[in-house]
């Protein structure tokens, strides 16, 4: 944390110093390696966006098959309106993502606050455990969750675990919980506990202190975590494919099954709409973090769970 701020101060100082006497520091001719790095960087950015651009463009394909371009038109978007299976899949995805995001935010915030405010040896064990959750291959999570949920639902008779929505929400909240705890912990560790102590000195009850100081301090991270958890759960494919119950098929699983029967442009059309939603959510996260005074680097660190 301290090196971070030092770096940034240095960078700002450098930028300020460079401005008045621009001639000696900023040479007009850039070295070949700088140019090569720039070209490489731009090429990689293009590479990262290529398939997304392709999907957006092909959502205006009027042909029957996604991969074969026929003509430009809005047919795919119109056909979403008359296909209840697609609407249902998207609805299931949105509902489960919302529930999963709520579960992940509540559990993750509590875990993050506990880690930041009660440091000790257990924090490292706990962080290691969260790390384990976030780096376990998704397929292992998925094959582990399916028997677990069948066990809870049928052997233990907890009938809620036979419900598709419950299964999907719980399944996708696992990874999201780990991400939210990192984000909340990272935010609170950077801030001193003095305010909480002052509040306790001023005779606030522990609950009041928690609600009005700790939670208020963590709020930007909680909001960012919530939106990220929502996006992650919306994207959850592998776990969802395993734990889903027929009747409540979420959108990614619908796409996965469409892969076998043939991809149609509607898939691209829905994806384009979802992409817009995700972009709005990401922009909101960035805005929330920016208003809380984070720099670009810190936002990146927060978003990657650093």
């Amino acid at each position: 944390m301290t090196t971070q701020t030092e770096t940034e101060t240095l960078l700002q100082a450098e930028a300020r110093a460079a401005r008045p006497g621009a001639a000696p520091r900023r040479r007009p001719r850039r070295s070949w390696s700088d140019v090569a790095f720039g070209v490489w960087g731009l090429l990689v950015m293009l590479f990262l966006f290529l398939p997304i651009i392709v999907i957006v463009v092909y959502s205006f394909n009027t042909g029957r098959l996604l991969a074969v371009w026929d003509g430009f038109g809005f047919d795919a978007f119109a056909s979403i309106l008359v296909k209840p299976a697609i609407q249902n899949a998207v609805r299931v995805s949105l509902i489960t993502a919302l529930i999963a995001a709520i579960i992940a935010t509540v559990l993750g915030t509590l875990a993050g606050i506990a880690m930041a405010r009660h440091p000790g040896k257990w924090v490292w064990w706990f962080l290691g455990l969260l790390l384990l959750v976030s780096v376990t291959p998704e397929i292992v999570d998925a094959v582990a969750l399916l028997p677990f949920m069948v066990f809870l639902g049928q052997d233990l008779g907890l009938s809620m675990f036979n419900d598709g929505i419950v299964r999907l929400s719980v399944g996708s909240s696992l990874f999201a919980t780990a991400v939210v705890s990192y984000i909340v912990r990272a935010r609170l560790v950077g801030q001193d506990a003095q305010l909480e102590e002052a509040s306790a000195d001023l005779y606030a009850t522990p609950f009041t202190t928690f609600r009005r100081i700790t939670l208020a301090l963590a709020m930007p991270a909680v909001l960012a975590g919530f939106l990220l958890a929502f996006t992650l759960s919306l994207d959850n494919t592998i776990v969802a494919a395993f734990v889903q119950v027929s009747g409540t098929t979420p959108w990614p699983v619908y796409v996965l099954s469409a892969l076998r029967t043939g991809l149609r442009p509607e898939i691209a059309a829905v994806s384009t709409i979802m992409l817009l939603l995700t972009l709005v959510a990401l922009a909101l996260v960035a805005l929330v973090l920016k208003r809380a005074g984070d720099s670009a680097t810190q936002i990146a660190r927060t978003m990657t769970g650093g």
């Binding site: 030092e6 960087g41 990689v44 950015m45 990262l48 384990l132 780096v135 292992v140 691209a268």
Partner: protein
């Protein structure tokens, strides 16, 4: 450092909370390990555990499955190396070459594909690489290819897919690590007469080690368990362990064998990480001993290659 005056009750509750939260994710994995010692009882059952044995493991390492494990390992290693080779210059460029004001937008650009649906991105590649797709038409048009592009449903297509899908996971930790190094030490190195390359290898690279370890692990581990990329771009031939596991659970309904494969996959990943950590440690040994600086009588403690501790550090 921090005053722990908040009282014992709250502390106890936080411990209890940590306990329940940790039981959540570990219990299912324990069940998979348990199932892997069982067997499939008849056509309709999925698993039974009244007779415990290692038979499912023997079944899982038969020659056909072994070939798949080998293939998965290759895709994992090639994919991770390519991700590093492509991602490291980008991270370096973002951290040192780009104006600080422009960094935010670049980070956002790297993040957008990362948060787009994994499956949809991969389908995008399927559309690009399809023999009747536009890339094939363009390449034939300019005379690079004689016939249609025959890349889809090959291992090359799977590698393109995984490199694409996991690249952001490499770029972001590397960027954070390079950025943490900061300009001060690099300038000091240049002032002391080191060139660009020497500065990179003796200052920037050693200091960004935790980020590099984090990036490599963040790419390698999920890549090994990935089955979507292989299904979409590699066809239904079952070339990755993930596809085999999914097949056992979803199609063959043999949870015992599927669990054994999943456990073997986890073991394979751990062994691969352990072996590569040892190799890197051995390769770096001569460099470390050359670079060691002894100040006064107290010998400087050698840097240990505790990979888990390093990732923890990088992610916190």
């Amino acid at each position: 450092m921090r005053n722990r005056a908040t009282g014992a009750t709250k502390k106890r509750s936080s411990h209890a909370q940590a306990g329940t939260a940790s039981a959540g994710p570990t219990a299912p994995v324990a069940m998979v390990v348990w199932f892997s010692f069982g067997y499939k009882p008849g056509v309709f059952g999925t698993h039974a555990n009244d007779v415990l044995s290692f038979d499912r493991y023997v079944e899982a390492i038969s020659p056909t499955f072994f070939a798949t494990f080998q293939n998965t390992l290759w895709v994992g290693i090639i994919g991770t190396v390519l991700c590093f080779a492509i991602g490291a210059p980008v991270a370096y460029w973002m951290a040192f070459k780009v104006k600080p004001q422009r960094r935010g937008i670049l980070i956002a650009l790297v993040l957008v594909p990362f948060w787009t649906n994994f499956l949809v991105r991969t389908i995008g590649w399927q559309v690009i690489l399809a023999p009747e797709g536009w890339l094939s038409t363009v390449l034939q048009g300019i005379g690079v290819l004689d016939g249609p592009l025959e890349l889809l449903y090959t291992r090359a297509a799977v590698i393109i897919g995984v490199v694409y899908n996991y690249l952001p996971l490499m770029v972001l930790p590397l960027f954070v690590a390079f950025d943490r190094v900061g300009p001060a030490l690099r300038e000091a190195s240049k002032d002391l007469g080191a060139g660009k390359i020497v500065t990179f290898f003796r200052v920037t690279l050693p200091l960004s080690q935790p980020g590099i370890i984090a990036g490599v692990l963040l790419v390698f581990i999920p890549l090994m368990g990935d089955y979507i990329t292989a299904t979409v771009l590699g066809g239904a031939k079952g070339n990755m362990v993930g596809q085999l596991v999914a097949g056992q659970f979803q199609t063959a309904q043999n949870w015992a064998l599927g669990s054994a494969m999943a456990v073997l996959l986890m073991l394979l990943i751990m062994v691969a990480i352990g072996v590569s950590a040892v190799i890197i440690w051995l390769v770096a040994l001569p460099f470390r001993s050359r670079n060691r600086l002894v100040l006064g009588p107290a010998p400087e403690t050698a840097k240990t290659d505790a990979a888990p501790a390093a990732i923890l550090e990088a992610t916190t």
